[in-house]
């Protein structure tokens, strides 16, 4: 990993170069202005230094033209940066459709990662190149922040909700992975590595790893363990709504509103079922708070997502 002195972390994702271009543009703009301003301060300091008490300085009245000039130019420059930055910003939030979904859970002071194929890792993340990867992230305790400098990505994980981010690695190699949000005594030890592999190597790694069951299979087991299936079966007289094919679809609530079933909705339904009641059902679902952790929640969510109508 040691590659001599580097001013920047490597560019190892599709995003990295784009962020850096914007960054370089900003450097150019700010260098221009700092040099201009410091040069003027210097010139004025030398040129207009008081030589004698009697000297009368030129009267330079405030000039409206100048005021307008130095308001409009910075404004236009800022708008250029804004449009450029905002476009990139939206990109960083819109994962491509074919992104592979990984799950990340932070806790004091480690990262727990689950592959869509079931592999689990602690403080390590193996990913293939050329494949967009979406991370859905949660935390067991306090706020952490998933940070991979070489990819120019960072996103907080926040208790009580899921956050997500995506990237596409471009260069095989090992990169650093950190928690960037201060999270208590051993915050600085909450670190790991990202291993980026050619797709073929990644497949090898997957098959060589401990044979793990895919996420949704573990999720299904949890689903049965917690007896969810006693109410949620795909039958007309079941006590709870069928969960088949609900993910990503709108669901009508008792109070007339409609919500889309996403990770956060499923999470809330399990931990706080009475917050939103599905129309046509009685609020009989018990809360599972305390019986299931963030990792388990993600597994069950993956299971529910996998239930599609044939």
């Amino acid at each position: 990993m040691n590659k001599g002195f580097q001013l920047f972390p490597e560019q190892a994702s599709t995003l990295a170069a784009q962020v850096d271009y914007l960054y370089f543009f900003l450097i150019a703009v700010s260098l221009f202005f700092s040099v201009l301003i410091f040069f003027l301060i210097y010139v004025f300091a030398v040129r207009y230094r008081r030589k004698s008490e009697q000297e009368v300085p030129e009267q330079i009245p405030g000039l409206l033209k100048l005021e307008i000039l130095w308001s409009v130019i910075p404004f236009l420059l800022c708008m250029v940066v804004f449009v450029w930055g905002a476009t990139l910003y939206f990109d960083t939030y819109s994962p491509p459709k074919d992104a592979l979904e990984y799950y990340v859970v932070g806790k004091q002071w480690m990262w727990h990662i689950q592959h869509p194929t079931g592999q689990r890792e602690i403080n390590e993340l193996h990913v293939p190149t050329g494949q967009p990867i979406k991370l859905t992230m949660a935390t067991e305790d306090v706020i952490h922040s998933f940070y991979i400098p070489a990819f120019r990505v960072k996103r907080d994980v926040v208790p009580g909700r899921y956050t997500s981010m995506w990237f596409e690695a471009t260069k095989p190699g090992e990169y650093h992975l950190f928690c960037a949000e201060y999270c208590g005594t051993k915050h600085s030890q909450m670190r790991g590595r990202v291993v980026v592999m050619e797709p073929a190597d990644y497949q090898n790694w997957l098959s060589g790893g401990v044979a793990n069951e895919p996420l949704e299979v573990i999720g299904e087991k949890k689903f049965r363990q917690l007896a969810c299936h006693t109410c949620h079966v795909d039958k007309p007289d079941a006590r709870g709504p069928s969960l088949v094919g609900v993910f990503g679809e709108p669901v009508r609530l008792q109070n007339g509103q409609t919500v889309t079933v996403d990770e956060t909705y499923i999470r809330e339904s399990i931990l706080n079922p009475n917050a939103k009641i599905a129309a046509g059902y009685r609020p009989v679902m018990p809360t599972f708070k305390g019986q299931i952790d963030e990792v388990g929640l993600l597994q069950i969510t993956a299971y529910i997502k996998s239930l599609t109508k044939e």
Binding site: R50, Y89, Y147, V158, A180, S188
Partner: protein, 613 residues
Amino acid sequence: MSEAAAVKDTPIEHAHQGFLKTYIFSTDHKMIAKQFLLLGLVMLMLGGGLVMLLRWQLAYPDKPLPLIGISETYMETGETETAMDRYWDEQFSKPEKEQSWIATRMPAGVISPNFYNTLFTMHATIMIFFVVMPILVGCFGNFLIPLMIGTRDMAFPVLNMLSFWVAVVSGVIILIGFFVPGGHAATGWTAYPPLSADPTWTGVDWGQNLWCFSLIFLGISSMMGSINYITTIINMRAPGMTFMRLPLTIWSLFIVAILLLLALPVLTSALAMLLFDRMAGTSFFNASGGGDPLLWQHLFWFFGHPEVYVLILPAMGIGSEILSVFSRKPIFGYHAMVYAMVSIAGLGWIVWGHHMFQSGMNPALGTTFMISTMVIAVPSAIKTFNWLGTLWGGNIQFTVPMLNALAFVSMFVIGGLSGIYMASTPVDIFIHDTYYIVAHIHYVVFGGSLFGIFAAITFWFPKMFGRMLGSKLGKIHFWITFAAFNCTFFPMHILGVGGHMRRIANPLQYEFLQQFEGLNIFITMSAFTLGMAQLIFIFNVFYSMFKGKKAEDNPWKANTVEWTAATPPPHGNFAEIPTIYHGPYEYNAPGIDEDYLPQTSQATIATDGNGKQ
């Protein structure tokens, strides 16, 4: 308002008030100003001392501190060599409960991770709330408002005294925190819950509670001050002192008082909610109980961003004042300067989300915060160019206050420009929570506010204490500080872009940060130099206070009203309430023989000098 009216009309005769009334429970705005100054300078040394320890740890992680740490011999052979070795030997033979204060925080002279976290938390808290605010707002707000608008005292002198003493209570509470079991607050000055909301996450119990209590008290103190400032400025200006004849310093303090009045209640309520979460089992910020940790971030930054303007606006006002005086020229674009400050303060309310770009906020919301933040750069640019315009064609005197004011302008430029990087969200996502942010904060708060403070103290020292501040020491202090400041903080930009996170106790644990070890040592050395240089300043202030050359009434030949009062001004300030005929910056006005024209002078200017008055 009856009290206000009373102060305005009757000259005050308080020749003999006992020691207690004169120096301790004084209601004289000038004495209260000095008290705030003392509070700020003492806290400056404490806050600075803390960060020296912190910098040691960053340059030499987990190495024993010099002087108090164990010796190498002891480490290697177990033989006690120095007196400190014997001390540590003795400490370690005791059960942990009976070990000394120092041994539980820095065993063997090595800073423990927990104590490191306390260090950066308390450094920031103290510098922001107990140094910059008391000096810029507490001291100069108090000293300058009545003197510069030409009145005898604040509208509510007793409230003013209370404001100071409540600040002292708050300071004492924050100091007690260092000595409670479990240690002082260690969640950063931003205190994000759930880390701060539940003692189990950090192991800090009463430290964090006291931190909350202290800031609640400080909020009350500032609130009393703000009410006083606003009332005084609106109601008690001398005859002829229209708003557009107010010195920019007063404008800035006026705007700051309004900001504080509106922003502090938000912080106070957030702190109260946090205390409830910690002590009464509520769940405002605990997700497991149905609360939302992001609520704190919204509340904190809704207060926090206006707060950073509280720290910089007075420095802007003071900088403008001093640049004009020593360029012997009217301030360039007085009106533009006022409107720029007003719009900075207004825009400051709608940008708080730029601190939360990576909390997963919806990018549609994120871009609104992005654009509002970008727009703030415009009034900042206007101010900068107007300062340059003020120098342009001037007759510049490089006095100590002027040097500091020039440093303020140039350092603020760097701080403002680095702000744009962070407002560009994709770049911010990369540099957020790295040393880049630390560099930005310090270019604005040290480079901006603290140089503003140095400028202000050196400029008004003669009026405050009746003696001149030693200018040789002043220059030495300035040049060392200026150089060491840049050596300390500029490289932090490089660290940040290299991926060096903030708030990490040991950068060497990270392979890719090991390349920065040398740079970190360099920064630490510069920081030590910077710290030592401040002792020169402190010495100069206290030495000149008693031994300095006696000052004339108007040593800088400045226009504003405070310079027409006796030096130092007596209780009640003016023999007679002055009448104001001119704007504050009529230097070298046509048709006037002298190169300055006091606001109280009845002479008339030949043509309209400023083009604006």
